[in-house]
């Protein structure tokens, strides 16, 4: 029994072993987390193509509007054809936006798998870094939905404008002009939201990087 009394430094040993096991546990968490977050990012990569399509169709719609404004009221057929074209590009944007929403939501739902994993992290610094990632996931999610809602608002306003323009000689200029002003204001709002979203995205990518580093994972950035 005396020998055990003499083994008083043993708790220190146990502590070291415990800490080492904890480190190992956090690293495992980080690896799991990495899988979900990067899968989410991979899904989001499809957004780029859709965003390009949104810009293209928005440009085409604006060009059709410009063509329309240059016509004369007696060019009936051209007016109708151009309005139809513009409405088509507007509808294309709506469809693409729906796809963007699906992609973003899919990515978000994968990213949110990280929640319980992060809560389970033992190391306080890693946990802090993980929580920052989590916070930015939520911020991006919220902002994306505000952006998407505003975009739909623009498309609704465009629809309204083209319906008004279909009225030809009965066009109420003041109402149409107010409509155009609202569209241009909504475009500004969209640009502001996009910029804010992109700032959050940069912060999110940096936060992910920082977290992986803290978790002792070797990270290599993949180009878009």
């Amino acid at each position: 029994m005396k020998i055990f009394k003499s083994l008083r430094p043993a708790p220190l040993l146990i502590l070291v072993i415990f800490v080492m096991t904890g480190c190992h546990h956090d690293q495992k968490q980080a690896e799991k987390l990495h899988v979900d977050l990067e899968k989410s990012a991979q899904i989001e990569q499809r957004l780029a193509k859709h965003q390009e399509s949104l810009t293209q169709n928005s440009t085409k719609e604006r060009k059709a509007y410009k063509t329309l404004l240059a016509l004369q009221i007696d060019q009936n057929q051209d007016i109708h054809a151009t309005i139809k074209k513009a409405q088509h590009y507007n509808e294309e944007q709506r469809r693409t936006l729906n796809d963007c929403d699906k992609i973003f939501n899919q990515g978000y739902s994968l990213a949110t798998n990280a929640k319980p994993l992060i809560k389970d992290i033992k190391d306080s610094k890693q946990k802090e870094a993980g929580l920052k990632v989590l916070k930015l996931i939520e911020m991006r999610h919220q902002l994306y939905h505000t952006y998407s809602k505003e975009y739909r608002h623009v498309l609704d306003l465009n629809d309204k404008a083209y319906k008004r323009l279909s009225g030809e000689s009965d066009i109420e200029v003041k109402k149409l002009e107010d409509n155009i002003k609202k569209i241009n204001q909504a475009y500004k709002n969209l640009d502001n939201k996009k910029e804010q979203f992109n700032r959050y995205t940069t912060q999110y990518n940096q936060a992910k990087w920082a977290y992986y580093q803290k978790a002792g994972l070797q990270v290599k950035q993949v180009q878009n």
Partner: protein, 302 residues
Amino acid sequence: MRGMPLNRKGKITIFLMLTLILSLLVGWGTIVKANSGKNKPTIALIPAQPLSSSFKPKQSFAASDLNHSIQNKKELSREQAVNQKAQQQLEKDHKHKVIYLTFDDGPSLEADQLLDVLDHYNAKATFFMLGPNMESRKHVVKRMVKEDFGVGLHGITHDAHKIYSSKAAPLKEMTQDQKILKEIAGVQSELVRLPYGSIPYLTVDMRSLLNKNGFKTWDWNIDSQDWELKDQRFVQNVIQDIQNLEKTGMAPVILMHDKATTVHYLPQLLDYLNKHGYQTKKLTNAMPPLTFQCEGRCHSMH
């Protein structure tokens, strides 16, 4: 060994052994960790996507060609409808042998004399006057109003390059002229006659602006050409045109000028009118104006 206490040497030995084991464990752990880092495949960080869609503002509709053509169409339709009413009015007037005498550019130095002639024949007429002339001969303007002649506006400059210089220029001149007339005679006239007539330089935009501001643009259906003939031939000219117009069933609206030769030969015309049972009337704000229709002939001076 059992129950046997360790001496100081033994305790030190055990402590050193434990320290050694611990050091070995920590060292091994570090090495393993380092090695595992070296061997572990590098993980990929796929950046989350930014939003890249971009938007440019839409042009104003109000300033567009399309809107311009829509407004023109509306204005032309309105003018056409008013003109139809004017024609109907002149047809009714024709049945009563009504004639409208109008004199532009006054009041001249001969305006008093002109009024005397008209009074002598108990004839009514309408005067489309220039602002500066009204200011120079206020007493004649007051006399016209007092004697129940028609008073209308002819602008300020009588310079085509000025009065047709911009969309708002005719309105500006007529508004100023209207103010002058009101200040002098206390009457608000909506009757306007554009210098040289509303064709070709009074564009649809200008017509629309005048109309929106309550002005009624009067042209004529008989041009005496007194401004060109400068002698009594204008009387024969008018009589001929009255006879021609008779066939169409329209009452005449005769363009003349407030100037010396016209005043001088006017009695010949008034004699003719009296002899043939015509009655002269003045134009009023309430009448639908007889305006030359654009029919593709209106264009800007520039």
